[in-house]
């Protein structure tokens, strides 16, 4: 089991009943775990199944997040940590932020 903090912002929280911050325990057996490691690819599936309550197409497109969503692992763009293959660790904080355009 791995304890993680998941944050949704920029409107994505609307997909999970307007709750922005979720403290979750992800059970490793419940995901496609490889050698006891939890990677972002697994977490996205877990989030889609367990947290997203409506319009999943506003969160995922194919196996990754839809265009216009920034993914941050401990305040760092996931592009710098391996995107879908980024390995997560206990107490990591993962944020999903939809880009805003209003002004």
């Amino acid at each position: 089991m791995m304890h993680l903090t998941l944050e949704f912002g920029g409107g994505l929280e609307l997909l999970c009943e307007s709750v922005k911050s979720h403290n979750v325990d992800v059970v490793l057996e419940s995901v496609g775990e490889k050698e006891g490691k939890l990677v972002m690819r697994d977490l996205l599936c877990w989030v889609k199944t367990n947290l997203i309550k409506e319009r999943p197409e506003m969160f995922l497109k194919g196996e990754t997040v839809r265009p216009g969503v920034l993914v941050l692992i401990n305040d760092c763009d996931w592009e710098l940590c391996g995107t879908l293959d980024a390995v997560l660790e206990e107490k990591d904080e993962i944020a999903f932020i939809s880009t805003l355009h209003g002004g």
Partner: protein
């Protein structure tokens, strides 16, 4: 004349009427302001700027400018050099709305040598809650004129350039090329891609801010080897993910805060002071009073705009269709556009009025979110927000039963704000056996325009 054409004509006239009313308010407050202005002139406060002394240093600042900017000059990290850099710089602010208001005010006050402002919009009453550069006196006038007047009132020593009209691919390069730094304070995604591509082509740093609801975002693109907008967002988001302030709302001070931070970053760039936000993004959440700065990706070598083999040339840029690329219009067309239902499943506001006058028993279902319903609603309408309809069909059943009707009788009407959600609701109702449910074309806005002009529009 066809019914639809008449309705459109009425809509047009209503808009015209609003415009004339705004103009009256604007002229009235001008009358008041002229009185105040005269008092100021009598006091002769502006004498200081008529004299100009020779400089006492190699920075070229006159005695008047040294006095005006003295609080900047006292800062060891900014000083006379920072101020001199600022005075010699030029900054373009695209958009004179919620973000652009504080940006332009601060840039004018702090002494940017040349300040350009672009906007195509007119000042409206419902802008003033957040677009603090505009005043009631300017309702109905161009935002650019209003913003420029406010900037000149604060600082008559700088050059304020008015670019009236939209920044479009055909004119963007000519305008952007005249400035050192560009501030994106716009409200739509095609313009954001266009400004980015223009800045990359002309090699200008871009201070990009955005705000919606109770959140804001800020970063600097294409500066110091950092990423551009397209490096972060190579593919535009789906249209349904792009909320606008006119739909989702925005707390006025939120774009104000992001705009202030944009002004700050622009000042830092123009004066060559401090460490810029390039490569980082600032995220602001007003509800939890949280500001955090996150590290974003590096410049992408495959980027269409700033990569090693960019697709954009100046020629391609000028003819690039940004609205088509993002599937989003540049201008906010807040009108009905969905056409889901057949003619028989729709009714006009006038038809509904007739039905009310005839006393026909019916149920009016309002499918807007609850907080919209609380602003204003039609008498006797019941509110079930669109996402809840299937869960709350029993409420509809009991309302119908109360007036002696049932699912199949022609007595269920659906309304929303603009006439889009009501169509989706009617589709759902049809699928659930309410075969004669109808929606009201154009929603409450149409009701206010065609039937009852006292009904509040928001």
């Amino acid at each position: 004349m066809e019914r639809r054409a008449i309705e459109e004509e009425i809509n047009k006239l209503q808009v015209e009427k609003l415009r004339i009313e705004s103009r009256i308010i604007s002229l009235q407050s001008q009358l008041n302001q002229n009185g105040q202005q005269k008092q100021l002139d009598d006091k002769n406060l502006s004498g200081w700027k008529t004299t100009s002394s020779p400089p006492y240093g190699d920075h070229g600042l006159s005695k008047e400018l040294i006095y005006r900017y003295s609080r900047h000059l006292l800062l060891p990290d900014f000083g006379i050099q920072g101020q001199a850099n600022l005075l010699n710089s030029s900054i373009l602010v695209v958009g004179a709305g919620g973000l652009g208001s504080p940006v332009a005010l601060y840039l004018a006050a702090c002494g940017v040598g040349r300040l350009g402002i672009v906007d195509n919009d007119i000042v409206e009453l419902n802008n003033l809650q957040r677009q603090i550069i505009h005043t009631e006196a300017f309702i109905g006038k161009h935002k650019v004129e209003s913003a420029a007047a406010a900037c000149r009132a604060i600082n008559s020593t700088i050059d304020v350039i008015e670019h009236k009209g939209a920044l479009l691919a055909v004119n963007a390069l000519d305008i952007i090329s005249k400035y050192d730094v560009v501030v994106d304070a716009t409200d739509n995604i095609p313009t954001r891609y266009m400004i980015n591509d223009g800045c990359v082509l002309l090699n200008k740093p871009l201070v990009s801010g955005a705000a919606l609801g109770l959140e804001g975002q800020l970063t600097i693109y294409h500066y110091n080897g950092g990423p551009c907008y397209r490096c972060l967002f190579p593919t535009p988001p789906p249209t349904s993910a792009c909320q606008r302030c006119s739909d989702s709302g925005v707390l006025g001070v939120v774009p104000g805060i992001i705009g202030c931070l944009q002004a700050l970053e622009a000042i830092k760039l123009a004066s060559s002071v401090g460490v810029s936000l390039s490569g980082r993004m600032l995220l602001f959440d007003a509800l939890s009073a949280r500001i955090r700065t996150v590290k974003i990706r590096e410049r992408s070598l495959n980027c269409d705009a700033c990569g090693e083999n960019p697709i954009f040339t100046k020629k391609l840029f000028r003819s690039f269709d940004y609205e088509n690329f993002t599937e989003t219009p540049i201008f906010d067309l807040s009108c009905e556009n969905l056409m889901l239902l057949s003619k028989e499943a729709r009714g006009s506001s006038n038809e509904y009025e007739e039905l009310l006058n005839n006393g026909k028993p019916h149920v009016l279902l309002d499918v807007r979110p609850a907080h919209h319903f609380q602003i204003a609603s039609l008498p006797n309408s019941i509110n079930i927000p669109l996402p809840n309809i299937e869960k709350e069909l029993f409420t509809i059943d009991s309302a119908l039963k109360e007036i002696g009707q049932c699912k199949e009788t022609d007595s269920l009407y659906v309304i929303c704000r603009r006439g889009n959600d009501s169509q989706i609701a009617v589709q759902i109702l049809h699928q659930n056996g309410y075969s004669t449910a109808k929606d009201l074309i154009g929603g409450l806005i149409s009701w206010a325009n065609l039937v009852n002009c006292d009904f509040p529009i928001y």
